[in-house]
């Protein structure tokens, strides 16, 4: 048994025995995880993932992982049809994107481990409480919540991790500082579901198996059993999902033989506000550019949300970008003033020419008048 496994096993024991509960049975029949906890390595690279995505075709039965009482049955913005089951110990199993609920699965009712509680889908909802509609490929987004932040950390970190340095928040993906998300009403503090399941589930995407583990429990041991240098300690300020993603990034960087600063792209590391339309500014007039920026900055909800989440560096990047835009506009205004002044100069010149012509004619008239007078 290596050192990593030596303190990982007690950790797993904490997750089960210390809470005086049985481990959870499978919540889907397919038993395949399509998205890891903590980090997304596929099309949503850089985003944290606060649970498991289980493979679940449309209409596939979803089961209670453990006995409990239904605490939430609602539609949530983005999450679609949601069901939460509170275990007797206060921990919560949460199911997102369901296409339908099983009969008699109502808030306040008891469910038993293995009981069908609903059916898989890919639902979302425009706003919380509004009807859900299909928006994603069918799957089960499964979240496990614990009632206390300390408990979340206890089940996620080895005792040795406290000796390690804190993770530099400036080097983490954009959501790492968003600690307000740690606790969600009705869920508690989200944590890695892996130690709470009886089984380990393989990952659909095998590309990270060699680095982050070939199944859910192995990933848990790798990411939390031996926190990498620079990883998040158990008393850190970060939520488990974010720490998991950060620690996974560190492990990936180690494997790539690069310091984390080089391994992470700027967007990964510091967050970024939405950039201007690529290549569009070359074809925009200053007025169009101003209108574009005004819409992006003052009418976009996404912009307003992102503004509070990105790091100071991202804000400086945007400030620098806007200084560039301001310089561009100043130059455009300067050139426009130059054109106006040139046109004024031409106008003045034309007016002067007209005045000169009138003066010349007046002089000629005067000369002719003098000549006539002298003859007379």
């Amino acid at each position: 048994m290596n050192a990593k496994a030596a303190f990982a096993l007690p950790l797993l024991a904490i997750a089960t025995a210390a809470h005086g509960q049985t481990c959870m049975v499978s919540v889907t029949d397919a038993e395949l995880v399509t998205e890891r906890y903590g980090i997304n390595a596929d099309l949503r690279k850089g985003r944290t993932h606060d649970g498991f995505d289980f493979r679940a075709p449309l209409g596939a039965p979803l089961r209670a992982g453990a006995d409990g009482v239904v605490s939430t049955r609602d539609t949530w913005r983005g999450a679609g049809n949601v069901l939460a089951i509170r275990r007797p110990n206060g921990q919560t199993q949460v199911y997102y994107h369901m296409s339908a609920y099983a009969p008699d699965v109502e808030v306040g009712k008891q469910v038993k481990a293995g009981q069908v509680i609903g059916y898989a889908g890919g639902t979302s909802a425009r706003v919380t409480g509004s009807p859900a509609y299909a928006s994603y490929a069918p799957h089960l987004h499964f979240i496990y919540g614990v009632p206390g932040a300390g408990q979340a950390r206890q089940t996620n970190f080895s005792e040795h991790a406290s000796r390690l340095r804190s993770l530099n928040p400036a080097q983490l993906p954009r959501r790492f500082n968003d600690s307000a998300k740690d606790r969600q009403a009705g869920i508690g503090f989200k944590t890695d579901p892996a130690p709470f399941f009886c089984k380990a589930y393989p990952f659909k995407n095998k590309s990270l198996d060699a680095i982050l583990g070939k199944d859910t429990k192995e990933q848990h041991r790798i990411v939390f059993g031996s926190v990498p240098p620079g990883g998040s300690p158990p008393d850190g300020a970060y939520a488990p999902v974010e720490a998991a993603a950060g620690n996974a990034q560190l492990i990936l960087a180690q494997q790539a033989g690069k310091p984390i600063e080089e391994f992470l792209s700027d967007t990964d590391g510091y967050g970024a506000l939405p950039g201007p339309p690529v290549g569009a500014y070359e074809t925009l007039s200053p007025n169009e550019m101003l209108a574009t920026e005004a819409v992006r900055r003052f009418q976009s909800v996404d912009w307003a949300n992102d503004l509070t989440k990105v790091s100071q560096r991202a804000l400086w990047v945007d400030f620098t970008r806007m200084v560039g835009v301001a310089n561009y506009l100043s130059d455009a205004i300067y050139r426009k003033k130059q054109r106006i002044e040139a046109q004024l100069a031409v106008l003045t010149s034309l007016r002067l020419a007209h005045t000169r012509q009138e003066a010349k004619l007046a002089r000629e008239r005067a000369v002719r008048g003098e000549a006539v007078q002298s003859i007379e």
Partner: protein
């Protein structure tokens, strides 16, 4: 899984010149340019189920891309047409339908608002790990009352 017989399919995809105001084909429903009530009337007339059950198709296209199967459902607010196609048709569909990329907490894909916001066409990302291998899904949501 229901199979639509070839004769009925011919009816579904044939242009109905005499009924210009009505949906002329299932293609028009899937392309998401139809108001919900008209699309529902068409589906009812053609006995296409709207209970969410899968219907396997042949020779039906959406934006020129062959559709493998559909599942249509409704509630009092939406009529929703889900359809599946081969991954190879994804680029063609996105370009032909003028879809824009999106990426949120739970997934990524391409979408477009139609009929002044009453309808929305949404297609999964070709690399979505939750879709069946070599398959992309399309979702046309049609609102019965006002914008989505």
């Amino acid at each position: 899984m229901k199979i639509i017989p070839p004769l009925l399919l011919a009816v579904l995809i044939a242009p109905a010149a005499s009924m210009a105001a009505e949906p002329a084909s299932l293609t028009e429903v899937l392309e998401c340019g139809m108001p919900a009530d008209k699309a529902l009337a068409f589906l009812n007339r053609e006995s296409i189920p709207v209970d969410g059950s899968n219907v396997k198709l042949a020779e039906v296209t959406a934006y020129g891309v062959p559709v493998k199967r559909i599942a249509i459902s409704k509630n009092d607010k939406f009529l929703q047409a889900n359809f599946a196609m081969n991954r190879t048709g994804h680029g063609k569909l996105v370009a032909a339908a003028g879809l824009k990329a999106w990426d949120d907490e739970f997934g990524a894909g391409f979408r477009r608002s139609l009929l002044n916001g009453k309808n929305e066409l949404n297609v999964t990302h070709p690399d979505d790990p939750n879709a069946e291998d070599n398959e992309v899904l399309g979702f046309c949501i049609m609102s019965f009352r006002g914008a989505l």
